[in-house]
């Protein structure tokens, strides 16, 4: 008996939560913020929600957008695709204007179809799966983070362009991360067509030495090496290349770009290139957002805070520029206007990826990684 009474209480409590949403005023801009707000992946979703609320509060305090208030509508998807579709349906049925989210790539993919049918634009702060934008299936999708293949693309372009290499050797450590980077690099190099991939090979992590591989690189006459993997193998490779008197550029991913590499490779690290996330901490917007957050919550913001903040800034700017939330106009504004956000000055390309965010090439100069322009 007691239990069923308890259940009714819970039901009433849950229903009462829905009341404010349905009762909300019609003359607001409704921004849905979807992502994992509970569960073990919540640390990836909460910062975006906090960021969206902070931006909304600031805008509302200054009189809102186009004279209307901005209303943030949180929606939990726990990063689960099946819950994400429900969350999306719920947001759409509540006449949401734009969605910030979702956070996980799988959940995002599941929800996007629903937004697409309802002509709702979704901007994810964190879904990095490349096909989400590149497949062209979801013209309503944008993101303020670089896709997974961007590093490989950047490395490929760097080798072909700035280094002017003709033949490149691509090595990887046979792991998901390293081989993924190597695969994307290879794909983009072959697409570029200017550079020949003369060698594509896995090395065994923890092997005693890599001199046979190094000799092979020399025999294939490669004039640059791209390596997908982490810093211990990278240091071993680069030190053996130096020992074998082979002086060709070496490019690694962000698994190499760190203090661990500098420490282990020592003087061999000098001149090594690595791709890594752009340094955004120098932007005024970023510093301001961070300072506001620290002032409000008394701690450093969590993962994807910057990207969530930027997504909110970008969409509000687009609404302001177009004077409403009409789909085609918003799309045009997002893709043509540069906006100052916490991840830098960005706009979106034809496929929905942000231009101006992502990865840079760094080089070890004087024992430190220096961002190359």
């Amino acid at each position: 008996m007691r239990q069923s009474v308890f259940k009714k209480f819970v039901l009433v409590a849950l229903l009462s939560l829905l009341v404010p949403v349905t009762a909300s005023a019609a003359d607001t801009f409704k921004i849905g913020v979807a992502g994992p707000h509970t569960g073990d992946l919540a640390p990836y979703g909460i910062p975006t929600l906090e960021a969206a609320k902070m931006v909304a509060d600031q805008v509302n305090a200054a009189g809102g957008v186009l004279g209307k208030q901005v209303e943030v509508m949180p929606m939990d998807d726990q990063c689960k695709p099946e819950i994400a579709t429900n969350a999306a349906t719920k947001l759409v049925s509540q006449d949401v204007d734009v969605v910030i989210g979702h956070v996980c790539s799988g959940a995002t993919k599941a929800a996007l179809g629903i937004y697409k049918e309802a002509n709702v634009i979704a901007i994810s702060p964190s879904a990095t799966n490349p096909p989400l934008t590149q497949s062209g299936d979801y013209p309503n999708f944008y993101r303020t983070i670089a896709p997974d293949d961007d590093q490989g693309k950047l490395a490929a372009e760097f080798v072909a362009g700035k280094l002017g290499a003709k033949k490149v050797a691509i090595l990887h450590d046979k792991g998901d991360y390293g081989k993924g980077f190597a695969d994307f690099s290879k794909m983009f190099i072959e697409q570029g067509g200017q550079v020949e991939v003369v060698m594509f090979e896995g090395v065994t992590p923890g092997a005693m030495d890599y001199s046979a591989v190094v000799q092979k690189i020399r025999r294939e006459k490669a004039d640059a090496v791209i390596f997908g993997g982490y810093h211990p193998e990278a240091s071993k490779l680069i030190s053996q290349m130096n020992k074998k008197r082979m002086k060709i550029p070496f490019i690694g991913p962000d698994g190499v770009k760190g203090d661990g590499f500098l420490e282990i490779a020592g003087k061999d690290a000098e001149g090594v290139y690595a791709t890594g996330p752009m340094d955004v901490s120098a932007y005024a917007e970023n510093q301001k957002a961070k300072a506001d957050y620290v002032a409000k919550y008394g701690k450093e913001p969590g993962t994807f805070f910057d990207q969530g903040y930027a997504a909110m800034q970008a969409i509000l700017a687009a609404i302001e520029a177009t004077g409403g939330t009409e789909y085609a106009a918003l799309e045009k504004a997002l893709k043509s206007n540069f906006v100052d956000t916490s991840v830098g000055k960005i706009k979106f390309d034809a496929k929905g990826d942000a231009e101006g965010v992502g990865f840079s090439v760094f080089q070890v100069q004087g024992g430190k990684f220096v961002e190359l322009q």
């Binding site: 923890g206 020399r218 020992k243 661990g260």
Partner: protein, 300 residues
């Protein structure tokens, strides 16, 4: 041809390190029929001791070769102490136990030592300074064989010749051979078998420490796990050459190193382990007791 020579030299370097470690496996197996799985850890500890010592010596202003020699000597002493203690704690009490018991105890010691270093030092990779100097006269052929590689080859060769002489011509060597042939009989004629076994562990550990210092200085990084990989390869080398047979371990190491190097060079380095173990399988099919191993009749 150049490419062949390059691969040959890198295979020889690798192989001679495998051989140094394999000797420890094979000597122990020859005398007490125990596969000392903790042997790779002794190699790793040797490298760590050398790293610590070289750090201290650098502070005191020593340089280059003197650090290398002092660090190596101290690493050898430490490794010998570890090997001796290991045998005393983990194997001696199980001397008359069923053969499986010391084997389990060996695996236990291996895990213990790995985790001990992990906790006492660090789980991260550490930089190991290049203690082996660059020789001017090696510069023209540095792309084929560098100074460090030359030092590794020469040191391994000297060590192995020294070991052979020790076993052939000294009292200790004679006692070791006697113990290997028949432990009970050796004891009856007055050989202190326990001492001989301790000595075997000490010699094996010293060899492993030499290998550890050379490799760490060559590749420039160490962590607590390097002993495991090296141990597996060296054990393979020992089996390849015929476990229990000392020249066999040396030969097995070289064969394994060359097989890996050529596989990486001519086929793909992704498959170097496949080739290494493929060679092992192939040779064991043809010669079940290894390259130089003798088929031993079961003693009743």
């Amino acid at each position: 041809m150049d490419y062949f020579l390059e691969l040959f030299s890198s295979g020889m370097v690798r192989g001679s390190i495998y051989a140094l470690i394999a000797l420890g496996y094979t000597m122990v197996y020859g005398i007490i029929q125990l596969i000392n799985f903790a042997h790779g850890e002794i190699y790793m500890i040797g490298a760590f001791v050398a790293l610590i010592v070289s750090g201290v010596l650098t502070i005191y202003g020593f340089s280059g070769v003197s650090i290398l020699i002092l660090a190596a000597v101290i690493a050898m002493i430490y490794a010998a102490a570890y090997g001796y203690t290991l045998e005393k704690i983990a194997y001696r009490p199980l001397r008359n136990a069923p053969r499986l018991s010391p084997l389990i105890s060996a695996i236990g010691m291996s895990l213990f030592l790995q985790n001990y270093v992990l906790l006492a030092q660090t789980p991260d990779f550490l930089r190991f300074p290049e203690l082996i100097p660059e020789f001017e006269f090696m510069e023209p052929i540095a792309h084929v064989m560098g100074s460090a590689e030359l030092i590794i080859l020469v040191t391994s060769a000297i060590t192995m010749i020294g070991l052979t002489l020790l076993i052939k011509f000294t009292r200790v060597g004679k006692a070791m051979r006697a113990t290997q042939q028949d432990m009970t009989m050796a004891r009856l004629v007055g050989v202190n078998v326990d001492q001989v076994i301790s000595m075997t562990f000490i010699i094996g550990s010293v060899l492993a420490a030499i290998g550890g210092v050379l490799v760490a200085s060559y590749i420039g990084q160490i962590n607590f796990y390097i002993g495991f990989m090296a141990g597996v390869k060296a054990f393979t080398a020992a089996v390849l050459g015929g476990i229990g047979n000392i020249p066999g371990a040396a030969l097995g190491g070289i064969v394994l190193g060359l097989a890996e190097s050529f596989a990486a060079g001519y086929v793909s380095s992704a498959y170097e382990d496949v080739f290494a173990f493929g060679v092992l399988v192939f040779i064991l099919i043809l010669r079940p007791s290894g390259l130089l191993g003798k088929a031993v009749k079961q003693k009743v």
